[in-house]
Amino acid sequence: MDTAMPYVLLSAILFALGVMGVLIRRNALMIFMSIELMLNSANLALVAFARQWGQLDGQMFVFFIMTVAAAEVAVGLALIVTIFRARRSTNVDDLAQLKG
């Protein structure tokens, strides 16, 4: 292939699927996984662009995004566990008020 554009298209499709997952699922864990899917598709686009232009910067961004994702998962899962302990539920619709 002499262009990295198919990868970008794939990335866009995965991103849209991730968005759909965030919006149609009600389980917090599922939403979280969909967000990971979105992040991952963004990473794919960045790597594709890095390849397209023959530079490392895109890969650097991906590296940072992965690190942030790891941090985010640690905190996010901790939150989910805490919420589950309090409410015995992982349904985000049960979290519709701002007070605990």
Binding site: V19, V22, L23, I24, R26, V92, D93, L95, A96, Q97, L98
Partner: protein, 643 residues
């Protein structure tokens, strides 16, 4: 391995810090003190070896012989690249000897002086840390590393001034030193930043090369940089108007006063100017300011010293005054003279402080312990010549050197400065001459009040000579004070030729007999005047100072030109007033009004918008997605039209 030898003078005291800080609680006083002292002695030994090796190098290689790059780029970020390296050239080698030599003597002295102190180990930890930090400052090959040392010695100074922190006054003195020094440090770091912006480098060699190469085009920047650096120096070297912290710094233990606040740290400013002389020489306007500030400091502080009663405070103002001499020398471009005076001053002022410490020690420990009188007040002394014969002799030597009596060290070094002043800058010469008169007078006054006449308190009557561990360093320093002048005799000038690769061309000149005669006369006359005025003072029930007859002039000196009061009124009060204005008027009325108004507005709007929020996160998500799709559509249309 060679590199390790080069930085080992720093590593030895650091080792002491490590050991005493971790194990100090479990070690005996003797072990702690001797360990710390011997490590500094080792540091001195290595410095001596390096000095000798440097001396063995061909003269034109001495500037680069000791440039040690540890091969570690210290900071490497973007355009900023600062290699981590040290430089041992004639200038820094000289300073290393002074720091470690005087430092070692004072360490040994402290074993006796600090005996029985509950925080004995901590004292030596700080002292060792100071020596290491001072060496970092001296051996740095870049502005940045020098600044690190600069801040570290400031930290040690702060810690040691407030060493007896249980007394609130000492803690406050430490804080004052810290705050005043920060003002200078801010200027210093601004100078460093400006240097980097101008030259794109921070190592001395690169910057100096830049100055030489770009000459005229960077003149304005260099003037600004040197001015900022000089403000930094005024903080550390206690020049007006930032000198007010040094007298208060006497709250620390006396060895600290001797080491940090007389012999080494306070001279860092002069050292820094000598180190960066290339830049100062490229900025004549700054040099004029420097010379004038130095001379004024010499005069103002000398005048203040005339009427102090605290034995250490006299010496403190004397130190400021002598630092003024050195700074004036630097301002005149006479870096060799400045450095020469720095070295001799380190000898005789350390000597004077340690001898004063010996006096205080004798007053405190052999008098009545619960005596309410102040053991540092000279009015309580008198007649100690007989009780402390050795201390008297060394104090006398130090005092005569300070007054400038030939052939002691102080005479030669002071003479060189005033000679330069006479040649280049008459106002400075006049100011320095007057302060020399003051110097001789207060030395005479101090000698009389402390050692002659009759004891004026129980403490003085029961004083006994200090132990040998304290007097031995005194004797060594006294010997150095006697012989120190030989370092740079007129017409011979060993130190000058030694330093010249680092601080610029030097040419010795024969003794100016007339000037030397004048200053000898001044010294002897001042001493005699002090003697005459104070010979019978404080013995009668009338405890007023004979000089108090001078009225306002006396008050001016006694209150140190009212500078502390002025700062209190202008800076501190002004700051309070400004703060309260900001708090009551601007903050409560203006900003809070705006904030509250915005808050009310937001609440109103929120009440209206709140209905759009059901609290379901997925609903928000869909709204966001609508926005995204709309945006993408917009760009697609715009993009299509653009083609």
């Amino acid at each position: 391995m060679n590199q390790l030898l080069f930085i080992s003078p720093i590593l030895f005291p650091l080792l002491g810090v490590l050991i005493n800080a971790t194990l100090g609680k479990r070690m005996s006083e003797k072990a702690i003190g001797w360990l710390a002292s011997l490590l500094v002695v080792a540091s001195f030994g290595v410095s001596l070896i390096l000095f000798a090796q440097l001396g063995g190098a061909p003269e034109d290689e001495r500037l680069t012989w000791g440039a040690i790059s540890l091969g570690i780029p210290w900071i490497q970020a973007g355009a900023l690249s600062v290699p981590f390296g040290f430089l041992i050239d004639p200038l820094s080698a000289t300073m290393m000897l002074v720091v470690t030599g005087v430092g070692a003597l004072i360490h040994i002295y402290s074993i006796g002086y600090m005996h029985g102190d509950p925080r004995f180990a901590r004292f030596f930890v700080y002292l060792n840390l100071f020596v290491a930090s001072m060496l970092v400052l001296v051996m740095a090959d870049s502005f940045l590393l020098m600044f690190v040392g600069w801040e570290l010695v400031g930290l040690c100074s702060y810690l040691l001034i407030g060493f007896w922190f249980t007394n609130i006054k000492n803690a406050e003195a430490g804080r004052k030193a810290f705050v005043v020094n920060r003002i200078g440090d801010v200027a210093f770091i601004l100078g460093i930043l400006l240097t980097f912006v101008t030259f794109g480098a921070l190592t001395f060699a690169d910057v100096f090369a830049g100055v030489a190469r770009r000459g005229e085009s960077v003149q304005a920047a260099v003037a600004a940089i040197t001015l900022l650096l000089f403000i930094g120096a005024t903080g550390k070297s206690a020049q007006i108007p930032l000198h007010v912290w040094l007298p208060d710094a006497m709250a620390g233990p006396t060895p600290v006063s001797a080491l940090i606040h007389a012999a080494t740290m306070v001279t860092a400013g002069i050292y820094m100017m000598a180190r960066t002389h290339v830049m100062f020489e490229a900025a004549p306007s700054t040099q004029a300011v420097v010379a004038l500030v130095g001379a004024l400091t010499a005069l103002v502080a000398g005048y203040t010293a005339l009427t102090q009663f605290d034995i250490k405070r006299v010496l403190a103002y004397s130190t400021i005054s002598q630092l003024g001499f050195m700074v004036a020398a630097a301002g005149l471009g006479a870096y060799v003279a400045g450095m020469f005076h720095l070295v001799t001053h380190a000898f005789f002022k350390a000597l004077l402080f340690l001898a004063a410490g010996s006096v205080i020690h004798a007053m405190e420990h052999h008098g009545h312990h619960h005596h309410p009188a102040d053991p540092q007040d000279m009015r309580n002394m008198g007649g100690l010549r007989a009780k402390l014969p050795l201390t008297f002799v060394v104090f006398l030597i130090g005092g005569l050197a300070l007054a400038g009596v030939p052939p002691l060290a102080g005479f030669f070094s002071k003479d060189e400065i005033v000679l330069d002043a006479l040649k280049h800058n008459l106002p400075v010469f006049v100011l320095l001459t007057i302060s020399a008169i003051f110097t001789a007078f207060y030395v005479g006054r101090q000698l009389v009040m402390v050692f002659f006449g009759q004891p004026r308190s129980d403490m003085a009557r029961h004083a006994q000579e200090s132990p040998a561990i304290m007097t031995a360093p005194l004797v060594v320093l006294a010997a150095l004070t006697v012989l120190g002048g030989a370092l740079n005799l007129p017409g011979v000038g060993a130190l000058g030729y030694w330093l010249s690769p680092a601080v610029g061309e030097f040419k010795t000149h024969p003794l100016d007999v007339g000037l030397a005669g004048l200053f000898t006369l001044i010294a002897l006359g001042g001493l005699a005047a002090g003697w005459l005025v104070y010979r019978h003072a404080f013995t009668t029930p009338d405890l007023t100072d004979p000089l108090s007859r001078l009225g306002p002039l006396y008050a001016l000196s006694k209150n140190a030109w009212y500078l502390d009061a002025l700062y209190q009124a202008v800076v501190v009060k002004g700051f309070y007033t400004l703060s309260s204005f900001l708090a009551s008027v601007l903050d409560l009325g203006g900003i809070d009004g705006i904030v509250n108004g915005v808050g009310r507005l937001a609440r109103g709007v929120a009440g209206w918008l709140g209905r759009a929020q059901a609290g379901f996160v997925r609903a928000y998500g869909v709204l966001m997605l609508i926005g995204v799709v709309a945006l993408v559509t917009y760009f697609l249309i715009v993009g299509a039209n653009a083609r």
